[in-house]
């Protein structure tokens, strides 16, 4: 269970208040107008940004004092998810430990992760020689290897075409479900939110709404979401 307890972010004129609970294993899409603070919200969980007030609890432990790498979080960013000078294998191996030096068992584990995202045979390619979809898969393989209970995605597939994006969202959803990982995904596409078939949070007007069932919310959107969806 991930608890946002009276969290408040302030930056100049910008405010964001979060007060909600995300159950373990939930798959939550996060939507809202641009500039409302969706990425800021993820940065807060990942540890790139500190709130001015409140607590952030994961299974009873306060995450706020922890640096990003020590939080139970793996994150995939909008872009720059892979180091261009490392191979797909080298990038995924960083999920085991930051030095990227692995023993035989760990190497096998990374190879399995790459195979399970469909990158078998492409392990030694560098990002420049992989397609957009394959690059996303390599980042997902690293996420698998990291094996953290919280997965954060910040519009990770926005550069992909609709069909490929649907496929990748499905893949992420399956992988997280298999490991009972909790997924928070920022997206601007209601189709992504519906595909997760979990819950939906709306970030608007300085607040993050509590997660509500995604399909029902999309079928009958509240005012904040309706004006965004148009």
């Amino acid at each position: 269970m991930l608890t946002f307890d009276g969290l408040l972010i302030e930056q100049g004129d910008f405010h964001l208040a979060v007060d909600m609970v995300v159950p373990s294993g939930a798959q939550v899409a996060i939507m809202g107008p641009s500039g409302a603070g969706k990425s800021t919200f993820l940065s807060l969980v990942a540890g790139f940004m500190a709130p001015v007030a409140g607590r952030l609890l994961w299974r009873g432990t306060d995450l706020l004092p922890l640096p990003p790498a020590q939080r139970p979080v793996s994150m995939i960013f909008q872009d720059n998810n892979l180091f261009p000078h490392l191979t797909a294998f080298g990038n995924a191996a960083l999920g085991v430990r930051p030095s990227g030096r692995l023993d035989r068992g760990e190497t096998a584990m990374v190879m399995r992760a790459l195979a399970s995202v469909g990158l078998e045979g492409l392990e030694h390619r560098k990002p420049a020689t992989l397609s957009g979809g394959q690059q996303s898969r390599a980042a997902l393989a690293r996420m698998l290897v990291q094996d953290r209970p919280l997965v954060l995605l910040d519009e990770p597939f926005s550069a992909l075409g609709p069909a490929l994006r649907a496929e990748m969202v499905g893949l992420v959803s399956d992988l997280c479900a298999k490991r009972r990982a909790t997924l928070l995904m920022v997206t601007h596409d209601p189709a992504d939110a519906a595909r997760l078939d979990g819950s939906l949070c709306i970030v608007a007007a300085g607040k993050v709404s509590a997660p509500a069932p995604a399909r029902a919310t999309l079928a009958n959107p509240p005012e904040a979401l309706r004006s965004y969806l148009g």
């Binding site: 790498a69 720059n80 960083l94 999920g95 990291q146």
Partner: protein, 532 residues
């Protein structure tokens, strides 16, 4: 949203080591620059009064720098305009060549200029055909010609960049409005020049105030001595430390003031990127303008290439029969260049890491960066003199001539290394910092697996610049070296001084080849297999 993600993270990562190393490097530079001035001052005896010769040196320094800067910039304006509006085969090569004087050993270019513009040079021969007296390259105009040779290309590149920064749409708009060359000059050219020229003038002025090798080779005498040259003479010939100290302070004041002025007028940055782009120009298609531009470009190219051609033509037959001391000196020079590269990269890397990691403390970060740029204003001869005085009681300075030269050359190259590395490191942090943080890559892991691989290109470029600059340097080594310990540039200067011009040309060609080779190899080393 993205803009807001820049806030300071709640927990500072373990980055102490880099900050300490950078601070140590900055402290070392401060000690070297100001410590050497203090060392010189402390040995100065007697009153600090300026003699007539000192005033003459100050006047000459400012006069030649102002003339050099004005001529370089003034000539660059039409050349840059011509390059901006013409497309021709070899244009890209020419523009690239205009970046080359920077890594050209000064003394090689001086020899080339003597061969073209000297008493027995090509121009004098040409004049003799018409019964005219030969020209003389020694003195004020020689110093200015050499400075224009080095800085006309720099000014041209800076102004060309200004032209190319004007959006192509403006020229299309001008074409639809039927603007002629005069209208374009008034509406597009002049505003750009007003923004570009002061900075270009000041940076060249600054470069010329600290010029030593040109003045050493072409100046001299009471009428053509720069302050730098006067320091050298006071130290080397008279061992008059109080005069050397006084002159060192004057030099510091002149170049410091020039540097502040240059900062104040905002020096344009020569990025070198995209200079091979041309814009379609509809206004300049008349035959007269074509002829004018073609002539200007040809003249500029001749001015830059003839001296090098002269060195190559006369040097080539000599290469096989160079005397043994030349090869020994070449070894010493390579050794000095190698040591300079190692020292400069170590200092620059430590400072770059500290600068990027101290971003949340802008005053400290800026302080480290400014320290690195100090070398622009501090004279290598002052540092050399100071080091001599510090080392004198401890060891025989002559024995340390080469390491000291390597160190001073490294410090002189530091500003250029930092200019290549700091923006690149900041870019790496902004692109990959969050990912590396989320993966827990800190300390050596981060350096080895992220920072160094991502900085390969700028590191290679910085190493290449340092190596070439150090290889061709004729500065501190002239203060220290005994007759048997000369580097290649110093040996070349001595051959020139004893009018062994054939041998000098051979040595110059060798030095030129080695400098370019060092630059090419190191720069290439950073590019090969660098994944973008």
């Amino acid at each position: 949203m993205k803009a807001r993600a820049k806030a300071a993270p709640p927990v500072r990562r373990d980055r102490g080591l880099a900050v300490w190393a950078g601070g140590l490097a900055a402290g070392f530079i401060l000690l070297l620059t100001f410590g050497s001035v203090v060392a010189v001052l402390s040995r100065a005896e007697g009153g600090l009064t300026l003699g007539a010769g000192d005033w003459a040196a100050i006047r000459f320094t400012v006069l030649q720098a102002a003339l050099s800067a004005a001529l370089s910039v003034g000539l660059a304006v039409p050349v840059a305009r011509a390059l901006a509006r013409r497309r021709f085969a070899g244009r890209a090569v020419l523009v690239t060549l205009m970046g080359a004087p920077f890594i050209l050993p000064v003394i090689v270019a001086v020899l080339g200029l003597v061969m073209v513009f000297g008493r027995a040079g090509w121009v004098s021969h040409l004049l003799a055909l018409f019964g005219l007296a030969p020209v003389n390259i020694y003195g004020l105009h020689g110093v200015v010609i050499a400075h224009v040779f080095f800085n006309l290309p720099l000014a041209t590149r800076l102004i060309l960049q200004g032209w190319l920064a004007i959006p192509a749409e403006r020229f299309r708009l001008a074409a639809t409005l039927g603007m002629g060359p005069g209208d374009i000059a008034r509406h597009l050219g002049r505003p750009m020049l007003r923004a570009t020229l002061p900075g270009a003038f000041m940076v060249i002025f600054l470069i010329c105030t600290t010029s030593f090798a040109v003045a050493l080779a072409l100046g001299g005498g009471p009428r053509a001595t720069t302050v730098e040259l006067a320091i050298y003479q006071a130290f080397r010939f008279d061992f008059d430390l109080s005069r050397a100290a006084l002159l060192a302070l004057i030099q510091l004041a002149i170049s410091g003031a020039a540097a502040l002025l240059a900062l104040w007028v905002a020096v344009p940055q020569a990025t070198g990127a995209g200079l091979d782009r041309t814009v379609e120009r509809w206004d300049a298609a008349t035959p007269g303008l074509r002829l004018l531009d073609g002539g200007l470009i040809a003249l500029a190219a001749l001015f830059l290439l003839l001296p090098l051609l002269a060195v190559a033509l006369r040097g080539l037959p000599e290469l096989a029969s160079l005397p043994a001391p030349v090869w020994a000196a070449a070894w010493r020079s390579l050794w000095v260049a190698g040591l300079s590269v190692v020292l400069a990269l170590t200092l620059a890397m430590a400072m770059t890491l500290a600068i990027t990691r101290l971003r949340h403390r802008p005053a400290l970060s800026r302080g480290v960066e400014v320290t690195g740029y100090l070398a622009v204003a501090v004279s290598p001869l002052v540092i050399g003199t100071g080091l001599f005085l510090i080392l004198f009681p401890l060891v025989d300075p002559v024995a340390l001539a080469l390491p000291v030269t390597a160190l001073v050359n490294a410090v002189m190259a530091l500003p250029f290394a930092l200019r290549a590395l700091v923006p690149a490191a900041a870019e790496v942090e902004s692109r990959f910092g969050p990912l590396a943080d989320s993966l827990g890559m800190t300390g050596l892991n981060r350096l080895r697996r992220l920072t160094l691989p991502r900085l390969r290109r700028p590191l290679g470029f910085a190493a290449a610049l340092t190596g070439a600059l150090s290889m061709g340097d004729l500065g501190v080594i002239a203060l220290f070296a005994d007759p048997d310990g000369a580097t290649l540039p110093l040996l070349l200067f001595r051959y020139m001084g004893s009018y062994r011009m054939e041998t000098a040309a051979g040595v110059a060609l060798l030095l030129l080849g080695l400098s370019l080779l060092i630059f090419w190899c190191l720069d290439r080393g950073g590019r090969v297999n660098a994944d973008l």
